[in-house]
């Protein structure tokens, strides 16, 4: 029989106002096995904890029940308290009489009665508690960053800086991500490539960083400290080690009319291509959907012109398996498809473009060489209309319910750049709200209005009709109380951004949770913003929510700091509440193995003593406590009840049931 001490907390008036704590302590003090029961104002305070420790010594307690706030709040606190007094920390049970009692009930009588029952259940459970010792599992000192945009690069650089090995997996042929497509960055207007490409080169040259470009993660197994990841390296049909990136093949390839995704289809590339001049790794890739040689077996021009002999038409996808201690998701974002917004004539006129397309149209390495020209006829646009919140802040049925956050600032940037480069243009920006919280952001927007004379109009564009080479824009000016009709040459839509489509399947592999918009959920919205609720999985950049570049970089470094903190440990303390099979009862039927999400269960043929001095060979389950996370799926799948969960054993739960139903 345990010697149980019961400690009832008032939590100031939080509990004591609704629950008669004195009576609870009195009644519970008369439960079998309870040798000490008391109540105190704040159990979690220094004095309260000392009270518990003194009682453990004085009454030689073997089990402790604390009737207080939720175990999610202070279970850890009280476990440590008891551990300091020499008691095994797992001999503590919490009866939640605040969140699940005093705070939800008004009637003092019934709340007190319920508090007593919850206390009884905890006492019944603690009688069956057994001391548990946490094991430890080693940490693989290597990190994986999934996504090679600015978020992934920054995270990888910071981790490598701390001396740990880190791999970047990028699905595109080059790292760099969306930032490579951007022309200038707000609020300083420095050139995106000028600040990004040095980082890309740093990553490529850092001996601690290994880049798997044109690759995808196909499976993730294991757990914090010990992830086993399979990476598919897609066939480039070009030997990365031989290709010098000279680009001759990309000039000679006869397949010329493949829409160039780097320029968002505004110009064409060849079937063999290097996305852009500063690509990392700078090697060519054959687009298997476009290459004549791969499709029909006839051509081979690139192979003939390649002096390095890097072309390999028979290359196959290869798979790499590696182990990591931590994984960072940095899968980024994409602008949404605009097919639900045809009032803006995006599908009808090439002169209606998205903001990202405008970046390419203004970029010196873009399809127009940096001169802003209309895609339809190559003329200079004189009147440009920007439409904000296209698909953001919408009903779920129509678009995204959230604010995409970056559009206000990049639209101000675009408007400003247009007016700066081409002072003869009229620039209108239609806004619902202008949101500029950020250092120097509002100043930037005001400059666009005050210095550059951009017409900011509170209102929205209702429709755009292409007519005689012009775009007839009908819009509202809510402050002016009028409806506007503008003949525009170019309409720019600030499309909402959404998480990359690879994020959802990745989240499933990582067992990391996502919100309804497919953004990764953080472990705590305020206090743990760069960690996923799944231990060992961290979040970097826009995969967690819309972010601009400064925020992305800040979060990327924060995620790196968390990863470094994890990898600097040699081993991790395991949760001791793991499944434990009773070999004598195990049938060896494999039911438990099939439901284990972690592959923690294996089987062993073991000899047992049979009747009459015989020896029986039986197949019995074994649980790897370092891998088991303690969900308990196996305990229910087991027909004989041989599998039990420490800390939540069958008997403990039954004892709680019995105490409640008594």
């Amino acid at each position: 029989m345990q010697r149980v001490g019961v400690f009832v907390c008032w939590c100031g008036s939080n509990i004591a106002a609704t629950v008669d704590v004195e009576r609870v302590a009195d009644v519970l003090g008369r439960e079998p096995g309870v040798v000490f029961a008391t109540h105190y104002q704040y159990m979690c305070s220094q004095a309260g904890q000392e009270l518990i420790q003194n009682a453990i010594h004085e009454y030689d307690l073997t089990g402790v029940v604390i009737c207080s706030c939720s175990p999610r709040m202070h279970e850890v606190t009280f476990r440590k308290t008891c551990e300091r007094a020499g008691l095994n920390p797992y001999m503590v049970e919490i009866a939640n009489i605040r969140e699940q009692c005093s705070w939800i009930h008004k009637d003092r009588e019934s709340a007190t009665e319920k508090a007593v029952i919850l206390g009884r259940a905890a006492i019944a459970k603690v009688h069956l508690n057994a001391p548990l010792t946490s094991g430890s599992s080693p940490v693989k000192k290597r990190a994986l960053v999934i996504g090679g945009g600015i978020a992934g690069i920054q995270t990888a650089l910071d981790i490598a800086e701390a001396g740990f090995e880190v791999d970047i997996v990028e699905k595109k042929p080059t790292i760099g991500g969306k930032m490579t497509q951007i022309d200038k960055t707000f609020p300083t207007l420095d050139c995106a490539a000028c600040i990004l490409t040095p980082k890309m080169v740093d990553a490529a040259q850092n001996e601690k960083i290994h880049i798997y470009a044109y690759s995808e993660v196909t499976s993730v197994k294991g757990f914090v400290g010990n992830f086993r990841v399979t990476i598919r390296r897609k066939a480039r049909y070009v030997d990365e080690t031989k290709c010098t990136g000279c680009g001759l093949c990309t000039e000679k390839c006869p397949q010329k009319k493949i829409p160039n995704e780097f320029n968002l289809g505004l110009d064409n590339r060849r079937a063999i291509y290097i996305p852009f001049a500063q690509a990392v790794p700078k090697v060519a890739t054959i687009d298997p959907a476009a290459c004549t040689m791969l499709k029909t077996g006839k051509c081979g021009v690139c192979s003939k012109v390649c002096t390095a002999g890097a072309i390999d038409y028979r290359q196959k996808d290869t798979y790499v398996e590696a182990e990591y201690g931590a994984i960072v998701a940095a899968t980024g974002f994409n602008p949404i498809k605009l097919d639900k917004f045809d009032e803006f004539a995006y599908s009808q006129s090439p002169d209606v473009v998205t903001s990202l397309e405008l970046e390419r149209l203004m970029n010196a390495a873009g399809p127009t060489g940096g001169t802003l020209l209309r895609p339809s006829d190559g003329t200079h646009p004189k009147t440009i209309v920007f439409v904000q919140c296209v698909g953001s802040r919408c009903d779920d049925a129509k678009g995204k319910p959230y604010c995409s956050k970056i559009c206000c600032m990049y639209t101000a940037k675009h408007a400003m750049l247009c007016r700066e480069k081409y002072p003869d243009t009229d620039v209108y920006v239609f806004y619902i709200d202008v949101r500029t919280p950020g250092k120097n952001f509002d100043e930037f927007y005001r400059r666009a209005v005050e210095e550059y004379g951009v017409h900011y109009i509170k209102g929205m564009v209702g429709k755009v009709v292409p007519e005689n080479g012009k775009l007839k824009v009908q819009a509202s000016d809510l402050l002016g109380g009028r409806q506007l009709h503008i003949d525009a040459d170019l309409v720019v839509l600030a499309a909402a951004i959404e998480p990359d489509e690879s994020a959802r399947p990745l989240a499933t592999m990582l067992t990391a949770s996502m919100d309804t918009n497919d953004f990764f959920t953080e472990a705590h919205a305020k206090l743990r913003p760069v960690e996923s609720p799944t231990a060992g999985v961290f979040l970097s950049g826009a995969c967690q929510g819309p972010k601009d570049i400064p925020e992305t970089v800040a979060q990327a470094s924060a995620a790196a700091a968390k990863v470094i903190g994890l990898l600097s440990k040699d081993s991790l303390v395991c949760n001791p509440c793991t499944a434990k099979p009773n070999e004598l009862m195990c049938n060896g039927c494999s039911s438990c193995e099939k439901v284990c999400p972690y592959g923690a269960i294996t089987y062993l043929d073991k000899e047992f003593r049979g009747p009459n001095r015989t020896v029986l060979l039986r197949r019995v389950a074994q649980v790897n406590p370092a891998v088991c996370q303690g969900c308990g799926a196996c305990t229910v799948a087991c027909p004989s009840g041989a599998m039990d969960l420490q800390g939540f054993s069958n008997q403990q739960i039954l004892a709680e049931v019995d105490a409640i139903c008594r």
Binding site: N582, L584, M585, C586, N587, G588, C589, S590, S591, K594, V595, Y603, L616, L617, R618, R619, A637, P639, S640, G641, A642, N650, Q651, L654, A655
Partner: protein, 324 residues
Amino acid sequence: MQERLKQKAVELLENGGADRILGWKTGEFFYDLTPAVFTSSAEIEREFVFSAFSGANLSKYLIAESRKGGKVAAFLKPCDSYSFQQLLKEHRILRENVYIVGVQCAGMCDMEKLRARDCDGVTAVRENGEKLVAETLYGERIVDRKDVLLERCTVCKSKKIVAFDELIGEQGEEQDLGRFAEVERLEAMTPEERYAFWRGELSRCIRCNACRNVCPACSCETCIFDNANSGFRNKAAADAFEENLFHIIRAFHVAGRCTDCGECSRVCPQHIPLHLLNRKFIKDINTFYGPYQAGAELDSPSPLTDYTTADCEPSAVLTRGGNS
């Protein structure tokens, strides 16, 4: 048929194909056949019986027999072979130590039903095609075999022998004789009627554990009802729900693994239709998660250790049609 089986048993023992033979022999009465292990030709000649009363499913005994060293040969009827394969799937039987002789089955008979057909004082039963000739103290009686079949044989799910090393008789096919009709009849009742039905049936339980002991799926090393640490072992019924709890739990424990061999109902001395609990689970599994027959395949995932993301919610049970 009996002679062919005997001949095969003797042959296996003599040519070294098996060290032991698992079959049936007469128990207290001629119709009361019990599973038995034979080790010599003489024993086979003297005691081996295969008749219309060889209902006992021998598969369960192979769990222990296959671990005793040497090779054991067993005769399995179609329904027994499902149980056997299910046990193989659960790694309970060491396949390499077992030699299976599949035996086609014409349906096993129920002595109670025979007695009910004016056959008191039966001393022996001869098989004659579709007819059974019962010798009684009051003269010979002839009955149709189909009229005195065990319940499970009247709705036989399959004549197919799913696992064997050799066959005696023809291989058969799966068949649908409406084994869920009785479950459906109960489902169509009002809850009050169902409650009354089951309360009446289960209240007869004397907790003799025959159902558990005969069931091939109930082959745990230690049953939770025998395990002091499970919290479910009671020396006496703790309260009025005790036996019912036993049957619900037993049915749940074998859900997804029960092959519907019908042994539980065959051996129940109180004639409780226990198979109707198991069949309910089988029917629900078929309805909710697609057709599944335990033991039919060696590698298909068992419905309770499997899932799809599109599975129905438990509330589907509460809102579906039928009486409420």
